[in-house]
């Protein structure tokens, strides 16, 4: 039956034996290195995968770190801004109060200097009035004194010398003003 189908039992046997021989030869010389290469390749790939995994982990860790750091920086920046704002407010308050004090001092000084000027002006005016009055009086005295009046004034002073127990009391010994 087999022969009708064209199958020769020997041929099959030879094929099997050949195959077995081939298999043994291949096993002896080729399979080892091939599997070795495959294994090596597999190891390499797994190594790469592991490395990739660890890099990913590292990246994630770094990302966390960066995020933390960013958050920290933001916090610090906020603190700094708040501190700066507070400082600015303090400075503003100080400047305002100083300006107020200075303006008050200026007003005070102005008032004082005005009062001084007023006193000075009054004193000057009084001096000028006194000077003018006496100048006028001097001219009147000068013009109105004739020889007789001069003599009377001088006699008056001479008469006053030695009175009041002293000769050295200026003016009190004589009062020529009465005859002016």
């Amino acid at each position: 039956m087999l022969e009708t189908l064209g199958i020769d039992f020997r041929f099959i046997l030879v094929t099997i034996v050949g195959f077995l021989l081939l298999f043994l030869i291949l096993k002896k010389f080729a399979f080892g290195p091939i599997f070795g290469i495959l294994q090596q390749r597999q190891d390499t790939i797994r190594g790469h995968l592991d490395e990739a995994e660890s890099r990913r982990d590292e990246m994630v860790r770094l990302q966390h770190e960066y995020e933390e750091r960013l958050a920290k920086i933001e916090d610090e920046a906020r603190d700094k801004i708040q501190a700066a704002v507070k400082e600015a407010q303090t400075a503003r308050d100080e400047i305002l109060s100083r300006a107020r004090e200075e303006s008050e001092a200026i007003v005070q000084r102005g008032n004082e200097s005005m009062a001084r000027e007023r006193t000075k002006a009054l004193a000057e005016m009084r001096d000028q009035i006194a000077n003018l009055a006496i100048q006028a009086a001097s001219q009147v005295v000068n013009r109105s004194l004739d020889g007789q009046s001069h003599a009377a004034l001088i006699d008056n002073v001479i008469a006053g010398i030695g009175q009041n127990g002293t000769s050295a009391a200026p003016s009190s010994t004589a009062s020529p003003g009465g005859t002016v």
């Binding site: 001096d127 006194a130 004194l145 004034l153 001088i154 001479i158 010398i161 003016s171 004589a174 020529p176």
Partner: protein, 184 residues
């Protein structure tokens, strides 16, 4: 002149004056000192020489003898030489001045000056002299001066005392009163 020099002048003149009083020769010594004052006033270079630190005492004494010998009494000349020996020649004018003060005190005399706006009459001058002599107890050598600036009245200066009865001063006092008047 330093006050120390003035004190020294007083000391020396007092010593000289006491000597004169003791010898009863005040007038004569005064006369000699007046000669010294006249010479020093007329030739100031004499004082410059007596001042000079580079000129020896011997030379200065010689000079003094040349100038004053037979012109002043020997005791006054010796007195001047003594001053040179003590390196005190520069106080000679002051010594003479101080001697004059002591002399006036001794004779009970004093200078007085009267200042008026118009000349004093003779009777006024005499009345003033009498009054001053009565008041001070000193014989008064009165000099009169006219100064129209005092306007009227009389100012008398006796020694270091002053009697101011001038109209100008009266007016000044009135002015001061006006200036002191309170203004509001």
């Amino acid at each position: 002149m330093a006050s120390g020099d003035l004190r020294a002048a007083r000391r020396y003149s007092t010593a000289l004056f006491r000597m004169a009083v003791n010898r009863n020769e005040v007038d004569e010594v005064a006369e000699s000192l007046k000669t010294v004052t006249d010479v020093v006033t007329q030739s100031p270079e004499l004082m410059t020489v007596l001042h000079h630190p580079r000129i020896s005492r011997e030379r200065k004494k010689q000079l003094l003898r040349q100038v004053f010998e037979n012109r002043v009494r020997p005791d006054v000349e010796h007195f001047l030489i003594l001053l040179v020996e003590k390196d005190r020649a520069e106080i000679i004018p002051n010594v003479a001045r101080q001697f004059g003060i002591l002399l006036d005190e001794h004779r009970r005399e004093t200078d007085a000056e009267a200042i008026t706006a118009v000349p004093l009459t003779d009777s006024q001058t005499e009345a003033l002299r009498q009054k001053l002599q009565a008041a001070t107890g000193y014989k008064v050598r009165l000099t009169a001066r006219v100064d129209e600036n005092i306007l009227g009245g009389l100012i008398v200066r006796v020694g270091d005392r002053l009697i101011d009865g001038s109209s100008a001063t009266q007016l000044q006092m009135m002015r001061e009163q006006l200036r002191r008047a309170k203004v509001t």
